[in-house]
């Protein structure tokens, strides 16, 4: 669900095929019969935007039919925790909702605690205020009839999927989910994934071989770029970007460091100050001292509670609030939801820097469709950069493997590696600030450590070592002595006193005195495919996180055939364990006080069936997409997510149950193109294979609209239109929703007006700029549209 791996992550699907050869069953649930569906043991369709209804029905099925893995659920998740009576849920709203601010007061969703501050539990799971009972009650409303009416999936199919998947709840069995943008690009994106996470916890499928909730990432280094946090809300290593109310480093560390009262909780984030101070030492080197709070005030602060996300950037830009924009290796004129708004927004800028390999719709926006260059003031710089094989460095894949790539050739013409472009640009900026004696707040610019060059060229090895981190003086830690200048062997040695640096604590252990771990190339010859000596994986080369949940409390694997780790009496063998502590119980069944709970990143040490940190509620709940074909939500009187991010410029039109836009629409991808198509639309083989934009529709819809296979048609939404070739196919079938027939259409989003000619423009001209309240990822996967003759 939520992905089409056979088409978009084809080599990942190679391993699905391998598993099927060994007896695994593949279930495909998608609005459209995809290439993945064609290989599945069972396929069924659902209407775009109804995944929580579908999965909510499964949660109900698992609980009511006793398919859950009780030992795992009780011992390793917060299912047994008891909630205070402030938590409530009525008619689509959790307690604490403020309708004016469209926000929740999350303090209403807290656990009962004992005098030591440890959450109260009922291991029998019978207490009516325990998470398990409240979960059961919450999803008791998701009966098959209602789910069928909402999703359009026939009851028999729902039951079939529920039965097949919940069979993985048995001890020793595993089930996994491969999801992608089909789940994230919704106003309920995070809760789609939460719903599946709850299922995986009910079935004991987290931390085990063949388990997990797998995000199929769409870019070669979107994992790494997220780890290094080119994102407004986080600093490298998922540290929080400080806010204005955190006036000093100690305020910031105090606010960000969770406390655990239970001595059995590892509470790994308790180490937060070691990571934040080591990061500041990498930012500012010798200039970061204890006296100046390690340069904390030099870095920009967010206003508390404000969002500075992608959708906000283009909203503010459209309103004329920016002078400059860097679009570095990006093409927002094609990739931004509501691309017409993004394209117009670009014209409000004084200057735009676009670094790319090929000409694209962003750099050339000023001469695009409907634009008059004579009226566009924006100064544009289009800078040519190297492709991946023309520079050296690493990328991190969906499985968190950091893999080293080598330089094979020089770039053509004057094209340059991005590392050199940023180094030279920053050098020039620094020159200007150094020579302006009235410069405004030059400290962060002049003090930023930037010694990552060799003979004037960017040196990725130097940067990789800084990312790992150094000892900055001679120290002895836990009986081990290190010299100033030694690389830190792992984040367990990082310090909060300024004696270590690490530009990203998660990557500490990736480049040590033993060498560049990401460059290792030794394959596993036996085992479950961990490949511990191939490349490197964060954290500390652990291949499966939360792997201590793959064993029982004695350290014996649930699945003895495919053990991830195993306690041999004195130590763990197999994968790098989630901490080296011994199993929870001694061989005589008594508690081992040296042990820790397996979910070490959670303050309490337990996985979150109840997730009180989310903006839209601690349990998932079905809400309709912002644009939907129904007037009512059958589960409550809240039609849409009451906390969804909504924007209000004249370019933000939303239309629900509007006869001008009667069809549910979704965007997707094809194997031959990539993202907005910048890199693939210029390649002859790939363009020959997939030359132009098409829109898929069912034969029933073609008949209804009088459209013929192969003819050029217009697809339009409240925000824009594109021309596409009609592709009439049984891959789409009409849905029966709330008793009436609802049609769905879909189109790939890789095309753009720059090239190839007659290839069609971006499908994102149709999508709405509204988003998930937690992530602000736009709702590109479920909106309303029309398709008609030209």
């Amino acid at each position: 669900m939520g992905s089409n791996a056979a088409e978009n992550h084809p080599i990942s699907f190679k391993w699905v095929t391998e598993a099927m050869k060994q007896g695994a069953k593949l279930i495909s649930v998608d609005p459209r019969f995809t290439r993945t569906s064609s290989k599945a043991d069972f396929f069924t369709a659902l209407r775009s935007g109804t995944d929580i209804a579908f999965l909510g029905g499964m949660i109900k099925y698992i609980i009511e039919n006793n398919k859950y893995f009780k030992e795992y659920l009780t011992d390793y998740t917060n299912a047994a925790f008891i909630l205070t009576d402030k938590f409530d849920f009525k008619d689509g709203l959790f307690s604490g909702y403020d309708p004016k601010a469209r926000k929740y007061d999350k303090s209403m969703w807290e656990f009962e605690r004992d005098e030591k501050g440890i959450p109260m539990k009922d291991s029998t799971l019978q207490n009516p205020r325990c998470v398990f009972q409240l979960l059961k009650k919450h999803f008791s409303r998701y009966d098959l009839d209602k789910v069928e009416q909402v999703t359009g999936t026939p009851k028999e199919d729902l039951l079939k999927v529920y039965e097949m998947y919940s069979a993985t709840g048995q001890r020793g069995k595993a089930g996994t989910i491969m999801y992608a943008m089909g789940w994230t690009q919704h106003t309920v994106g995070v809760q789609n994934i939460r719903a599946m996470s709850i299922i995986q916890l009910l079935l004991g499928n987290m931390g085990v071989a063949g388990g997990g909730v797998n995000a199929l990432r769409g870019e070669s280094n979107v994992q790494g770029s997220t780890d290094h946090c080119i994102l407004y809300h986080i600093w490298p290593g998922y540290l929080k970007n400080p806010t204005a109310s955190q006036e000093s480093l100690s305020d910031y560390n105090a606010k960000c460091t969770p406390k655990a009262n239970d001595p059995l909780s590892a509470n790994w984030w308790g180490n937060y100050p070691k990571y934040s101070v080591s990061l500041l030492k990498s930012f500012f080197g010798d200039k970061a001292t204890k006296e100046n709070d390690f340069g904390y005030s030099w870095l920009p602060k967010l206003d508390d509670g404000e969002s500075y996300s992608w959708l906000d950037i283009f909203d503010e830009m459209y309103k004329g609030k920016f002078q400059g924009l860097f679009a570095w290796g990006m093409n927002p004129a094609g990739s931004s939801a509501n691309a017409n708004k993004a394209r117009k927004a670009l014209g409000t800028l004084d200057w735009l820097v676009n670094v790319n390999i090929f000409d694209n719709e962003t750099g050339s926006f000023w001469k695009g469709p409907g634009m008059d260059p004579k009226k566009i003031k924006t100064e544009v710089f289009m800078l040519p950069c190297a492709v991946s094989v023309e520079k050296e460095g690493s990328v991190t894949n969906s499985g968190r493997w950091m893999q080293w790539r080598y330089k094979a050739a020089d770039s053509p013409g004057d094209a340059r590696p991005d590392g050199d472009i940023m180094t030279d640009l920053f050098k020039k900026v620094r020159y200007l600030y150094r020579h302006d004696k009235d410069a405004i707040f030059p400290e962060p610019i002049l003090n930023l450590k930037w010694d990552y060059t060799t003979n004037g060229e960017f040196d990725s090895h130097k940067m990789a070592k800084e990312i790992n981190g150094y000892f900055l003086k001679d120290v002895t830690i836990n009986g081990k002595s290190f010299k100033k200048g030694d690389l830190v062997p792992s984040f367990a040695f990082l310090q909060s006193d300024g004696s270590t640096s690490s530009a990203n604590w998660l990557y500490c252990n990736s480049y040590t005195n033993k060498g560049n771990m990401a460059a290792r190339r030794k394959r596993e010859t036996s085992g479950i495919g961990l490949n511990l000596e191939w490349a490197w994986c964060w954290p500390v080369n652990r291949r499966i996180i939360y792997n201590r949940a793959s064993v029982d409390k004695y350290g014996n694997p649930w699945d003895t055939e495919h053990p991830v780790i195993k306690w041999n009496g004195t130590k763990w063998v197999g994968d790098v364990p989630d901490g080296g502590w011994p199993p929870m119980l001694n061989t005589d069944g008594t508690l081992n006080h040296k042990s820790k709970y397996p979910f070490i990143m959670k303050p309490e040490g337990y996985a979150s069936v109840f997730g009180p940190g989310r903006a839209d509620g601690p349990f998932p709940e079905h809400y309709e997409p912002l644009e939907c074909p129904v007037e009512k939500n059958l589960f409550s009187s809240q039609l849409i997510n009451p906390t969804a991010a909504i924007y209000n410029t004249d370019m933000d039109a939303y239309r629900t149950c509007d006869c001008r836009y009667p069809f549910v629409c979704s965007t997707y991808r094809v194997s031959e193109h990539w993202q907005s198509g910048v890199m693939t639309r210029w390649q002859p083989w790939l363009v020959e294979a997939q030359p132009q934009l098409f829109v898929e529709m069912s034969p029933e819809l073609a008949e209804l609209t009088g459209l013929k296979n192969g003819e050029k048609v217009i697809v339009e939404s409240a925000r824009g239109e594109v021309e596409a070739v009609a592709l009439v196919t049984r891959r789409f079938r009409p849905f029966k929703i709330h008793g009436t027939v609802v049609h769905q259409i879909g189109l790939p989003w890789h095309f753009g007006w720059v090239h190839p000619k007659d290839g069609g423009d971006a499908a994102n001209l149709l999508t709405p700029s509204t988003g998930d309240p937690n992530t602000r990822i736009p709702e590109s996967k479920a909106f309303m549209a029309n398709v008609r003759k030209i």
Partner: protein, 191 residues
């Protein structure tokens, strides 16, 4: 002796290829074998990871040892545990990304209200961008927010990108933007 196909070729180049092939009992078509040796004799081999999706497939790149120094072949890396030599349509076409006449080769500049690009030098372009950064930063720099709290940020510039960069480029890029005071910093992960 356990030996895979690629190790075999590497091994056999240094010895007598045909004889060794028979000696190891491997069934190889002589023409294919000859083509493989050419790649190894006249090209430098390096490994890379596919630049498209996040699966992380290994690719072997052959670069001419001749004067051109160009990439002459790319193919799936059979030793790589993720793809074992297989690639999708995009990965298999990698050489067309590298050797592509449509690639941007010089910095381009578009003046305000102009209808055309002009070619400019790196030095000129980067200096002009640096001047723009300073002007916009100085004009929009906010030391304190409306509540009087210290924020030291640049509200007038935004940055997006990129998940296509190497880790070692992502880190200094966000560091540079944060040192400039930007808070509007985003990339592909958000969309």
């Amino acid at each position: 002796m356990k030996i895979n196909r690629r190790q075999f070729f590497k091994f056999s180049v240094g010895t007598a290829a045909g004889v060794m092939a028979l000696g190891l009992g491997m069934d190889l078509k002589p023409v294919k074998s000859y083509a493989q040796t050419l790649k190894i004799r006249y090209a430098k081999e390096s490994t890379t990871i596919c630049p498209y999706c996040g699966v992380g497939c290994g690719i072997i790149v052959h670069t001419s040892k001749g004067a051109s120094g160009k990439v002459i072949n790319t193919e799936g890396d059979p030793d790589h545990p993720i793809n074992e030599g297989a690639l999708c349509s995009k990965g298999a076409a990698l050489s067309q990304l590298v050797n592509n006449e449509n690639r941007l080769k010089t910095p381009l500049y578009r003046k305000p209200y102009s209808h055309a690009w002009q070619h400019v030098s790196w030095d000129w372009a980067l200096y002009k961008i640096a001047l723009n950064i300073k002007k916009s930063r100085d004009a929009s720099f906010t030391a304190k927010n409306s509540k009087g709290q210290l924020v030291n940020r640049t509200n007038g510039i935004a940055h997006i990108g990129s998940a296509a960069l190497d880790n070692e480029e992502c880190w200094p890029l966000q560091a540079m933007m944060r040192a400039l005071g930007l808070v509007y910093i985003e990339h592909q992960a958000r969309i």
